[in-house]
C-alpha cells in the first residue's frame, strides 16, 4: 500500500480549495473572492422605485436596508425636508425550508395629485400556506396614501375593507377577505385610484363545472384623501378583467385553465355595447397551437375609453402596438413597431407597462422597448428630443424617462447599463442640470464592478445573435475561463440590465456569456420558432457560435468552458456537454428537465380529440385579416409576409364590419352601489351577469405552460428520448452538477432526478445539491449557498485539482 495515499480533490475540496485558489492567484491576479465578497453581489437593490410628483416639487423613492423597507419623500427644492416612512420588515415565510427572510415589495408607487403619494405594500404571507407546494406565498397587500410631508398616512385598502359579504342560509353573512391590487389612477375622478379585489369565488373549487375556477372580482374607486370607497364592478369571472381608465370592465380574459385556452369577451359598459367584433378579432381561444403564432390581443385602454391598444404580430415578424377605435371598429393610425424587438410578450397582462401615458395631457406619449438595453420609442417629439439630450449626457448608459412634472420642466431619469445597476437623477430642464437623487444599489462598488457589455453579431450561417458578456475585473488566471449561462426557456430571454448573478460569477474569475439563442422570446417570430427545427441542436449551435465570437475578441481560455443553465437552459447545458464533450469541461443544471419524454408524458384529456390546428388556424386567420385589412393603409404593419410557422388553412373570417352589438343594455353590475362600509355584496349567482356562459364540459385544470410544452415538443417518444440527457448517461464524460428544488413549481423535479438516477446507475453519480424555494425567489442566502457550491464544482472541474495532501497543483 502506498504510504502516501492519493485523495480525490473533491473529497478534500473544502479543506484545499483556499489553497488551490491561492495557487491560482498569481501576483498579477486577484485572490478568489470569499463568501462574503460573493454575498455582496447578491444583496437586494436598495432602491427599486422612484416617482416624481406632478407638480415637480416632491419626489419619493423606496429604500430597503437592514431588513426594513422604507419610503423616502424629499422636497426637491429643499432636500433637507425629507420624510422617511418605515413600511415593513422582512419576514420569514411560514414553512420556508431555510427560514430566510423575504423582503416586502411595493407593487404600486405613484403620486395621485401633487401632494399625495399612494403605494401598495405587499408582505410575504404569514398565513398557513404550504409554500413548498404553491411555491409563491400568498402575499398580503395593503394600499396606503400619505402626504408629501410624510403626514396623514392612511390605509386605503386591505383584505378586510375589500371584504366580500356572502349571505348564508341562516341570514347571517360570511366575510370573505380579498387582496387589493391597484390598477391605476381613476381618469375621470380626481384624487382617486382604481383597486381590484380578487378571491376565488364561492364554489369555484366544487365539482360543479359551471363554477370551477371562477374568481370573485371587484373593482373599487377609492379617494386617496378621504379613503372613501365606491364599488364600480363586481363579477365572478373565469379569468381576469381588463378595465378602461374610468374603471369600467370592458374585456373579460379567460385564463387557459381548461383546454379551450384563453378567450377574450367584450363586456357591455354604461353607454357602450359589447363588441362582437372585438370577440372575433381576438378569436375564440388561445391554444398551445396558436399561442406562439400570429396573435392579436388587448393590452390596455386609452384615456379615451373607446380607444383600445392592441399588440399584434399579424403580418410581421415582431409584435407591434396598435390602437383600435371601438366606435368604428377600425384601427387608428397608431403603429408602433420595432424591426428587431417585440414590443409585447405573449401574455395578456391586462395593463402593459410598455405603454407610457402623460397624465396631464391624457394621452399615450411613448412605448418602452425591451431591447438589449431598456429604451423607448417616443411618440411625443418633445420627449424624443429630451431623450436625445439626456442620452448625450450619459454616454454608455441607457437613460429612461421615468416621470415628469405637469409643466415638463423636471424629469425623473434612471440611468443604468448592463454593467451599472443605475441611479436616479432629476433633470432640471431650464437649467440643463442633473441632480443625482439616489443609487439603486449602493452596495455594489463601482470600482469592483466587472465590465459588462451587450453584443450582437451574425454567425457565418447568417443568424443574428445577441447577448451579454461580463468580463472579470480581477481574473484568477491570465486567460480566464468562460462560463456560458443559458437562460430558461425556450420562450424566455436574458433580461436587459444589470445582472447581479453574472457579476458574482465574474467576480469568481469567469467571463460570463449569456446568449439569446434561437428560441428566445422578444426577437420576433422567426427567431423564436427557429428552435423547432432542432430543440437542442439549434440553441447549442448558437451557443457555440457565440463562444467562437467571444474567443476571437477576448482572451478567454477556450479549454476551460463551463455551462450553467436553469430550467430549459439547464437542459441545454446538459445537452451541450453531451454533444460536444471536447468543447466543455462541465455543466451545472438547475431545475432542469432531463427526460423530455417523461416531461411531456401527461395523460391526454377528453378534449384531446379537438383539432387544435383547426382552432389555431381559425384564430390566426381572422386576426391577420383584421390587422391587414382595417385601418388607414399607411399605418399597416404588414410589410412582411409568409410566417414560417405555424401555417394555417385558407379559411379566414374576412374583414370585420362594425356590426351592432346583440346586447345593447347597460351593464347592471357596474351600477352596483356600495354599502355603508364600502364593501360589496356578492353577486346573486356565482356566474355573475354579463359574462360568457360557463364552459359546457367538466373542466380539467391544466398547466398551460405544460400543455404548450407538450404540444411544442410533440409526441414522438423516440425523438424525445433521443433528445433527453437522462436517456443517454453514457454520453456524459465530464462532470455534472444538478441543483434541484424538489418542490419546483415547474414540475421538473421528477425529470431532473431521472438524470441523477441514470448517472448513478451508470457508475458516474453527479454532484448534487438540493435547493429550496428561497433560491427561486432570489433570496440572497439561498443563492449564495447554491453559487458557492457551483464555485467549488467549477474550480475542481475546470482546473482538475489532483491533489496530494498539502501539495496542490493544476493539471492541464
Amino acid at each position: 500500500m502506498n504510504s502516501h495515499p492519493r485523495f480525490s480533490g473533491r473529497t478534500l475540496l473544502p479543506l484545499l480549495l483556499p489553497a488551490c485558489l491561492g495557487w491560482l492567484a498569481s501576483p498579477a491576479h486577484a485572490a478568489a473572492p470569499t463568501s462574503r465578497d460573493l454575498a455582496a453581489w447578491l444583496q437586494p437593490d436598495r432602491t427599486q422605485q422612484a416617482t416624481l410628483a406632478p407638480d415637480g416639487h416632491h419626489l419619493a423613492y423606496t429604500v430597503h436596508e437592514e431588513e426594513l423597507t422604507m419610503i423616502v419623500i424629499i422636497d426637491v427644492d429643499d432636500p433637507t425636508k425629507k420624510a422617511v416612512l418605515p413600511v415593513g420588515r422582512d419576514v420569514v415565510i411560514r414553512d420556508s425550508r431555510d427560514h430566510e427572510k423575504s423582503p416586502m415589495r411595493v407593487p404600486f408607487f405613484r403620486w395621485v395629485g401633487p401632494g399625495r403619494l399612494v403605494f401598495a405594500a405587499e408582505m410575504p404571507s404569514l398565513d398557513e400556506v404550504d409554500v413548498r407546494r404553491v411555491h409563491e406565498p400568498a402575499n398580503v397587500t395593503v394600499v396606503y396614501a400619505v402626504d408629501a410631508d410624510g403626514r396623514h398616512l392612511m390605509k386605503l385598502a386591505d383584505e378586510e375593507n375589500l371584504v366580500l359579504l356572502f349571505p348564508l342560509p341562516d341570514g347571517s353573512t360570511e366575510r370573505l377577505p380579498r387582496q387589493p391590487r391597484v390598477i391605476d389612477l381613476a381618469a375621470d375622478v380626481q384624487d382617486s385610484i382604481l383597486v381590484e379585489a380578487v378571491r376565488p369565488a364561492l364554489g369555484s373549487g366544487s365539482a360543479d363545472p359551471s363554477l370551477y375556477g371562477r374568481v370573485a372580482t371587484g373593482l373599487f374607486r377609492i379617494n386617496v384623501r378621504t379613503g372613501q370607497r365606491q364599488v364600480l364592478h363586481e363579477q365572478d369571472v373565469n379569468g381576469r378583467l381588463l378595465y378602461d381608465r374610468n374603471g369600467q370592465a370592458r374585456i373579460e380574459i379567460w385564463d387557459p385553465i381548461d383546454r379551450a385556452g384563453q378567450s377574450f369577451i367584450s363586456l357591455p359598459s354604461p353607454g357602450r355595447r359589447a363588441s362582437k367584433e372585438l370577440d372575433k378579432l381576438f378569436g375564440d381561444a388561445v391554444t398551445p397551437a396558436n399561442y406562439l403564432g400570429t396573435r392579436t390581443f388587448p393590452v390596455g385602454f386609452d384615456y379615451d375609453p373607446d380607444i383600445l391598444y392592441l399588440a399584434s404580430n399579424a403580418g410581421r415578424d415582431t409584435y407591434g402596438l396598435y390602437a383600435l377605435d371601438l366606435r368604428t371598429a377600425k384601427r387608428t393610425a397608431l403603429a408602433v413597431e420595432h424591426p428587431a424587438f417585440d414590443l409585447a410578450g405573449f401574455e395578456t397582462s391586462g395593463s402593459l407597462p410598455a405603454l407610457v401615458f402623460d397624465q396631464k395631457q391624457r394621452r399615450l406619449v411613448g412605448v418602452r422597448v425591451a431591447g438589449l438595453e431598456p429604451a423607448a420609442q417616443w411618440l411625443d417629439p418633445e420627449l424624443a428630443g429630451l431623450q436625445a439630450t439626456l442620452d448625450g449626457k450619459f454616454p454608455g448608459r441607457s437613460v429612461q424617462l421615468i416621470d415628469w412634472d405637469d409643466s415638463r420642466t423636471r424629469f425623473l431619469v434612471f440611468a443604468s447599463s448592463v454593467g451599472d445597476p443605475g441611479r436616479y437623477y432629476l433633470y432640471h430642464r431650464a437649467e440643463n442640470r442633473l441632480v443625482q437623487i439616489v443609487r439603486r444599489a449602493p452596495a455594489v462598488d463601482p470600482d469592483q464592478t466587472n465590465a459588462a457589455t451587450t453584443f450582437a453579431f451574425d454567425t457565418p450561417e447568417g443568424v443574428h445573435l445577441t447577448g451579454y458578456l461580463t468580463v472579470p475585473k480581477t481574473p484568477l488566471k491570465t486567460q480566464p475561463p468562460l462560463l456560458v449561462w443559458c437562460h430558461d426557456g425556450p420562450w424566455d430571454r436574458d433580461a436587459p440590465g444589470f445582472n447581479h448573478d453574472a457579476q458574482m460569477f465574474a467576480a469568481m474569475g469567469f467571463f460570463v456569456l449569456q446568449v439569446n439563442y434561437r428560441g428566445s422570446a422578444g426577437f420576433g417570430t422567426r427567431f423564436r420558432e427557429a428552435l423547432r427545427e432542432s430543440l437542442d441542436g439549434i440553441p447549442v449551435a448558437d451557443i457555440r457560435a457565440a463562444i467562437t465570437w467571444v474567443e476571437a475578441r477576448y482572451n478567454v481560455d477556450r479549454k476551460r468552458v463551463a455551462l450553467l443553465g436553469q430550467g430549459f437552459g439547464g437542459y441545454l447545458a446538459l445537452r451541450a456537454l453531451q454533444l460536444y464533450p471536447d468543447d466543455f469541461r462541465c455543466a451545472v443544471a438547475i431545475n432542469a428537465p432531463t427526460d423530455l419524454e417523461q416531461w411531456s408524458r401527461k395523460p391526454e384529456s377528453w378534449r384531446e380529440a379537438i383539432d387544435r390546428g383547426e382552432v389555431a388556424n381559425s384564430t390566426m386567420k381572422q386576426t391577420q385579416d383584421f390587422m391587414i385589412n382595417f385601418g388607414p393603409g399607411q399605418s399597416g404593419p404588414l410589410a412582411q409576409r409568409g410566417l414560417l410557422v405555424p401555417s394555417f388553412a385558407e379559411q379566414g373570417m374576412g374583414a370585420l364590419d362594425a356590426a351592432p352589438s346583440t346586447n345593447g343594455d347597460p351593464d347592471p353590475v357596474s351600477g352596483t352601489q356600495p354599502d355603508a362600509a364600502g364593501t360589496a355584496a356578492a353577486p346573486a349567482t356565482a356566474g355573475g351577469r354579463g359574462g360568457p356562459p360557463p364552459p359546457p364540459f367538466p373542466p380539467e385544470y391544466v398547466n398551460f405552460a405544460s400543455e404548450l410544452r407538450r404540444w411544442y415538443f410533440g409526441h414522438d417518444k423516440a425523438r424525445l428520448a433521443a433528445l433527453s440527457p437522462a436517456q443517454h448517461p453514457e454520453l456524459f464524460t465530464k462532470p455534472v452538477l444538478l441543483l434541484q428544488d424538489p418542490y419546483d413549481a415547474g414540475g421538473e423535479a421528477g425529470v431532473s432526478s431521472a438524470l441523477r438516477s441514470a448517472l448513478s446507475k451508470a457508475g458516474n453519480p453527479p454532484e448534487y445539491l438540493e435547493i429550496s424555494g428561497e433560491f427561486t425567489r432570489g433570496l440572497p442566502k439561498a443563492r449564495l449557498q447554491a453559487w458557492t457550491k457551483v464555485q467549488e464544482f467549477m474550480m475542481i472541474s475546470l482546473y482538475d485539482f489532483d491533489v496530494k495532501i498539502g501539495i496542490p497543483k493544476v493539471q492541464k
Partner: protein
C-alpha cells in the same frame, strides 16, 4: 497655528505669528485691498549689509539676520518639495533662470521713497498694508511683499518681521501655486489650475503625511447637508461639459468645487492608484482637446463611470481627510549666507526694480520714471564699476527694452548673448531688435530677408529655444522670420514650430503661421493637420476664414494665402 502664505515664496508676512491674527482681523476683506506701489528702497549707506545665499532654483539677497534668511530659505525648500508631492515637477513651470528674492528686515524700516509717497498723497491715492498717518491725515500702507514675474523669471521682495519669523509656519499662496501651474508649457486647463489651487489651499503641510482637510462642496450649507445625509442629492456637471469649459460659467461654485473634487478623487485611495492616470490626463489635456477617449485611455473609465464615482466619493470627501505621504524629503545642503557682491546686489535687486516698473506702469503711470531711474541706478552702479557679467548686462538690456529704449538695450543684449547668458527673454529681445533692423534693409529680392539676415535673427532664437520656459513670442518671431525670408529651410526646421504648437496648442495665430509655412513649403499633410487643429481652436470668425482660405489654397496647391 495657521500657516502663513508665501507668494513664491514671497509671502504675506506683515505681522507674523502672534501679531498676525490681529492684523487679519483689522485688515479689510481681500477683495477690498488696493494695489499699491512696491517699496522703492534706496541704498542706505549705513544700512545693514546685503547677504547672499543660493539653493537650486533660488537666489536670495537679504538684509535680514542670517538666521531669519536661512529659516525662510529652508521653509521654501521644504515647501517646494512638498509641492512636488502633490504636483509632479513635470506639471510645474520650468525656468532656466533661478528665481530671485530680496529680503528686507522690518527692523531696517524700509520705506517707500518720500517723493513717491508725496506723489501718492498728491493724487489722493488710498493705501493699505502697514497703516500710517501722513501729515495731511491721509492713510496709506506700504506693500509688504510682492512677487513679480517676467516671461522667463520671477523676482520677489518681502519684508520680514524678524522677531516672530523664526517660528512662523509658511505656506505657498494660491497665487503662487496658480502661477507655478499656469506658466507651465503647455499650460494646463483651467479646471486643473483652479482645482489644484483649492486642493492645495486645503492642505496642512506641517503634518506628515500632508493632510488635506475635508472638501467644502459648493457652499457651507450644501457641505453640511452632505455630511448629515449621505443620500443628500448632489449635482455634478457632465464631464464632457466640464472638461471642455474654458473656465467657470454660470455656476462657478459648482465648477470650482467639481474641479477640486475631481483632483481629490483622482488622488484618493491607498497608494493613490489613480494618480498616474491623473498626471497623464492633465498632461494630455494641456496639449490637446479633451475627449472621452482620451479620458478613457488614461483612467480606463468612461465619463459617466468616472462621474458616478466622483458623486459617490463626494459623501466621503466632505467628511474625511486625504493624506499624502511625502516620503523622505531631500535634506537641504548646509547653507552659509555670505556677503553679497556688488554684482549680485545690482543684478538681483536691479532686476526686481526693473520688474517693478512693469507693475507700476498700469497702476501709477506717473511713478514710472522714478522707478525706472531707481532700477537704472542700481544696475549701472555695478556696471560702472566695470562689472560685465552677461546676466547683469541682460538685465540692463531688458530694463531698457521695458523702458522702450530699444536702441539703448541693443549693446547690452548683444554682449549678454555673446557671453552665453541663460536668459531666454534677453535672447528673444535681441532677435527682435535684429529683425527690426533687417526689415528696414532686406537683402533679398521682393523685400525678403537674405539667408544671412535670417540667420542673424534666428541665431539668438535658437539660443532661447534651448532654455526653458518656452516663449510664445520666440516661436512667433521664428515663424515670422521664415515667412519673410528666402525659403531655405526644411521640414526638420519646421519641427521647431511643431513644438511651439504643442506648447501653445490653443494659440490660433501661431497655428496659422505654422500651417502657412508648411503649406508654402509643400508639406501638405502637416499643413492640413494644422488647419484642422486651427479650426478647432480659432473660434474667432476671422481666423476661421483664414484657415478655410488656407485649406482651399492648399487643396489647389496654389500659392498660400498672404503671409501672416
Amino acid at each position: 497655528m495657521s500657516p502663513l502664505r508665501l507668494p513664491l515664496c514671497l509671502l504675506a508676512i506683515a505681522g507674523l505669528a502672534a501679531g498676525r491674527g490681529q492684523a487679519a482681523e483689522d485688515a479689510p476683506a481681500p477683495d477690498r485691498f488696493v494695489e499699491l506701489p512696491p517699496l522703492m528702497v534706496a541704498e542706505q549707506v549705513n544700512g545693514p549689509p546685503w547677504r547672499y545665499v543660493e539653493i537650486p532654483g533660488l537666489e536670495v539677497l537679504s538684509r535680514c539676520r542670517d538666521g531669519t534668511t536661512l529659516h525662510l530659505v529652508e521653509e521654501m525648500y521644504r515647501l517646494q518639495q512638498l509641492l512636488a508631492v502633490m504636483l509632479p515637477p513635470d506639471l510645474q513651470a520650468k525656468r532656466a533662470v533661478p528665481d530671485t528674492a530680496v529680503l528686507y528686515s522690518e527692523e531696517s524700516k524700509p520705506v517707500v521713497a518720500q517723493e513717491v509717497v508725496a506723489d501718492l498723497l498728491r493724487d489722493g491715492k488710498d493705501a493699505g498694508g502697514e497703516s500710517r498717518r501722513s501729515s495731511r491725515g491721509v492713510g496709506y500702507r506700504s506693500m509688504p511683499n510682492l512677487r513679480l514675474t517676467d516671461r522667463d523669471a520671477t523676482s520677489a521682495f518681502f519684508i520680514l518681521e524678524e522677531g516672530g519669523f523664526a517660528q512662523a509656519q509658511l505656506a505657498l499662496t494660491p497665487d503662487y501655486i496658480r502661477y507655478a501651474i499656469k506658466s507651465r508649457t503647455p499650460s494646463p486647463p483651467a479646471w486643473f489650475v483652479e482645482g489644484f489651487v483649492d486642493l492645495y489651499d486645503a492642505g496642512d503641510f506641517e503634518r506628515n503625511p500632508i493632510t488635506l482637510s475635508p472638501v467644502e462642496w459648493v457652499s457651507a450649507a450644501e457641505t453640511k447637508n452632505l455630511k448629515r445625509d449621505p443620500d443628500y442629492p448632489r449635482s455634478l456637471l457632465p464631464l464632457a461639459e466640464f472638461f471642455s469649459s474654458p473656465g467657470p460659467g454660470a455656476d462657478a461654485a459648482l465648477w470650482r468645487g467639481q474641479a477640486a473634487l475631481f483632483l481629490r478623487w483622482a488622488m484618493e485611495g491607498d497608494d493613490h492608484p489613480r494618480q498616474p492616470a491623473l498626471w497623464k490626463f492633465v498632461a494630455r489635456a494641456s496639449a490637446e482637446p479633451v475627449t472621452e477617449e482620451v479620458f478613457r485611455e488614461c483612467f480606463g473609465l468612461g465619463y459617466v463611470d468616472a462621474q458616478e464615482r466622483m458623486s459617490d466619493y463626494l459623501s466621503n470627501a466632505v467628511l474625511g481627510t486625504l493624506r499624502l505621504k511625502p516620503g523622505k524629503l531631500a535634506a537641504l545642503p548646509r547653507l552659509t549666507p555670505r556677503p553679497a557682491t556688488d554684482l549680485e546686489i545690482a543684478r538681483i535687486k536691479g532686476d526686481l526694480e526693473r520688474l517693478e516698473i512693469g507693475w507700476v506702469k498700469p497702476r501709477f503711470p506717473q511713478l514710472v520714471p522714478k522707478y525706472a531711474e531707481q532700477a537704472r541706478r542700481t544696475l549701472m552702479r555695478a556696471y560702472d564699476k566695470g562689472e560685465r557679467d552677461p546676466r547683469l548686462q541682460a538685465v540692463i538690456g531688458l530694463c531698457e527694452c521695458d523702458a522702450g529704449n530699444d536702441a539703448g538695450a541693443r549693446k547690452f543684449l548683444e554682449a549678454a548673448v555673446q557671453g552665453g547668458v541663460v536668459r531666454p527673454r534677453a535672447s528673444y529681445e535681441l532677435a527682435r531688435l535684429r529683425y527690426a533692423e533687417a526689415q528696414k534693409a532686406p537683402d533679398a529680392p521682393g523685400g525678403r530677408l537674405s539667408a544671412a539676415q535670417a540667420t542673424s535673427v534666428l541665431q539668438p532664437l535658437v539660443t532661447a529655444w534651448r532654455q526653458p520656459p518656452a516663449l510664445l513670442e520666440m516661436y512667433a518671431l521664428t515663424a515670422d522670420v521664415w515667412a519673410r525670408s528666402v525659403p531655405a529651410f526644411t521640414r526638420k526646421n519646421l519641427a521647431m514650430l511643431d513644438e511651439g504648437v504643442a506648447y501653445f496648442p490653443r494659440n490660433a495665430p501661431l497655428i496659422y503661421q505654422a500651417a502657412w509655412l508648411n503649406a508654402r513649403q509643400g508639406f501638405k499633410p502637416e499643413a492640413e493637420a494644422l488647419i484642422v487643429r486651427g479650426l478647432k481652436v480659432g473660434t474667432d470668425p476671422a481666423f476661421q476664414t483664414r484657415f478655410e482660405q488656407l485649406r482651399v489654397n492648399l487643396a489647389a496647391m496654389a500659392q498660400p494665402a498672404a503671409a501672416p
